[in-house]
Symmetry: C2
Subunit: 250 residues, 2 copies
């Protein structure tokens, strides 16, 4: 939300990315201490970040237990997709209503990037770009609240795919995105909505068909990839540096 580029916002961003890109599978424990250690900040800030992510539905933080990456139930998943479909519909309407030629170029460029990533087999990048396509549309709708809601559901859908979907998702998605752009450009709202609905439907189907698997992974190594801009010991931006009484990873 607010662009306050504070450290908690960075931590948030790092975790959000990691969760969305499915690097931290649903259910992964997120102990405040350890995150604080990794991010080079105190639990106070980690806790703030976790609260934020919880409100975005990416993290479960039940009262007196360790937070985990969210693990939505099938019912919740359905709700999220239902909501997403509504929002995307409205976004399409708004984008067409406010259409600028520049939008077309912009979106087409994005789709090209998706295609490139797909061909390169860059799963992680593909996933991110696929989400960003929708986010981008959300921006074009010119309603920041709607954009926020859309971003939230899109993120959560990534999470759901990680939980219930099959590993390598965004394949045909690229083509569907291309079709959507074409429909938008043509300015036919009903058509565009129909395609978008179908697109979401196919994503949902992919998600709710087969069951998830658990990959092996390590919290530390994964996070180190996402913690750029944080935890630079010599940053000197901060008065006191957390003591980090490293106890050797248990």
């Amino acid at each position: 939300m607010s662009k306050k580029s504070t450290r908690v916002a960075l931590a948030c961003q790092a975790l959000r990315q990691a969760i969305i890109e499915q690097a931290l599978p649903p259910g992964t424990k997120l102990p405040e201490d350890e995150l604080g250690l990794r991010f080079g900040m105190s639990r106070t800030l980690v806790r703030e970040a976790l609260a934020q992510l919880q409100s975005e539905g990416l993290v479960d933080a039940p009262p007196r237990r360790t937070a985990t990456t969210a693990k939505p139930t099938l019912d919740q998943a359905r709700e999220i997709f239902e909501t997403r479909r509504m929002l995307e519909r409205e976004v399409v309407r708004l984008v067409i209503a406010r259409w600028r030629p520049q939008f077309g170029a912009d979106l087409e460029g994005h789709v090209r990037a998706e295609e490139t990533a797909r061909q390169a087999g860059e799963a992680r990048v593909s996933i991110r770009l696929a989400g960003e396509f929708h986010t981008r549309l959300g921006e074009m709708a010119g309603n920041s609240l709607l954009r926020r809601y859309l971003s939230e559901v899109v993120s959560r859908c990534s999470l759901i795919l990680a939980l219930y979907g099959r590993p390598h998702s965004a394949d045909c998605a690229v083509n569907e995105h291309r079709e959507i752009v074409a429909a938008l450009r043509a300015g036919n709202a009903e058509t565009a909505i129909r395609i978008m609905d179908h697109h979401i439907g196919s994503v949902e189907a992919r998600a709710l068909l087969d069951q998830g698997r658990d990959a092996g992974f390590d919290l530390g190594t994964v996070l180190s990839r996402y913690a750029s801009g944080l935890d630079e010991p010599g940053s000197a931006k901060v008065a006191r540096i957390p003591k980090a009484k490293a106890k050797g990873k248990r």
Copy 2:
């Protein structure tokens, strides 16, 4: 969101209520210290509550300055109403789709309560009930995410009315609510949506027509009305009680 009935949730609730009922006009300063004093908790928790409310759009908390009750711009107000209209539309559709006879009785009871409050001239209660009517619909839609989004926009609309609307708002609203219930009962989605749209439109018109006024009020006395369940000195639920180094209201 999560029903964790912790103290911060209570503080949140108290502030939210106070803001929605327009007891704390937009722009009111909310210093962490003073809130902590009032609520009998430390800044840590107050801060958490404020963060939550900020994410709901009820509080502005710019980086290094005192938080205030939110003061949306006209543009933001328009965005919020636009979004609300979308959500309410979808809610109406869903409610009709899942209609139970009990819904009718429930809603009619609610409208009666609104009517009673209106006649009694209970402005504060009227405002709350008017919002709850929509919230109630949100529950009947059977989609908790959608419900959350709806609650959020409804709250924010109350805030907007406090800022830009005329003092005593929810008058004719009761009748419009009655019409909506009738349309829902009839099961005609298109009609119900049309009425709902008109309803939101009239609320919006009321809001964005004349400008706000500032009433006299005092943070302390206002909050004391909303802090029930908090700050009971003998509650003994907590180990340590904040020291409350009362410095006599400046």
